[in-house]
């Protein structure tokens, strides 16, 4: 027996396709409209390419990180606004309490001096 390399060369000799192959290709060329390339096609091809898949994964990870940071900052801002509103309410209550005390004292003074006059 010949070496396997030679046997493979013999076994994998080129074969012609079935009769009329070129005509069938031409028929398909003439009937099939050239598809319009969608605007996202290059992007899809880029993402689908195994070689660049890791790039897409890295971009997705970065986007997630940015979204998380934005969300966290928004939460912090809302918390600070809440604290500020709470402080304002407390201050207003304190002022109202002082005013009420003043008014109560005045009323008491009037009550005390009223029957004498």
């Amino acid at each position: 027996m010949k070496p396997i390399e030679e046997e493979l060369r013999a076994a994998l000799r080129k074969q012609e396709p079935p009769e009329g192959f070129a005509a069938r290709v031409l028929a398909r060329v003439n009937t099939r409209p050239t598809p319009q390339t969608a605007w996202w096609a290059p992007l899809r091809a880029f993402v689908r390419s195994p070689r660049w898949r890791w790039v897409a994964a890295a971009v997705a990870a970065c986007l997630l990180l940015v979204a998380a940071v934005v969300y966290h900052r928004r939460e912090q801002r809302m918390e600070a606004q809440g604290e500020m509103a709470k402080a304002q309410v407390m201050k207003a209550l304190r002022i109202a309490s002082v005013k009420l005390n003043i008014a109560r004292r005045k009323v008491q003074e009037i009550d005390r001096s009223g029957p004498q006059s």
Partner: protein, 179 residues
Amino acid sequence: MEAALARWGRGESSAFVEIVREHQAMVFSMAYYFLHDRSVAEEIAQDVFLRLYRNLAGIKSPAHLMLWLRKVTSRRCIDEVRRNPARPQVSLEEAPEPFDPSPPSDPLLSRRLRRLVTSLPENARMVIILRFQEELELAEIAEILEIPINTVKSRLQRSLAMLREKLDTVLESAGDEAD
């Protein structure tokens, strides 16, 4: 082929037929030996030439054309197997032993080898086809499959060892039955 490309460049669409006729055996055989199915091989070969028709303006030279055709055919074949994993594949273990008790004649051996090639993992299979059908150097195969040359080398060695081993088993069993 350079003349056909030049004619295509001048707008002569008949040049495309010439290009198809020149390369149809290469494209069809690559697909056929990869998939072991004539109708699917023809479908893939047609797809490759349709794609070529749309991209022919970007082809610079006959060498570029050969590289482009081999690259696109390889990718299309590998994609076909990955897209249709249900397509019956012959595994090395499942590959039936010869039922003919006489030692295999050359055509039988060739048929046997083709079946064994189809049973290889898809990347190794394409390396074998490019090496022995297309008679390419390892560097050329590496360029077509976009893999390092050392990977090509190791896949080729591993595949040849597997094929040799299986073929020896086949021939031994054929010899035993003949005795």
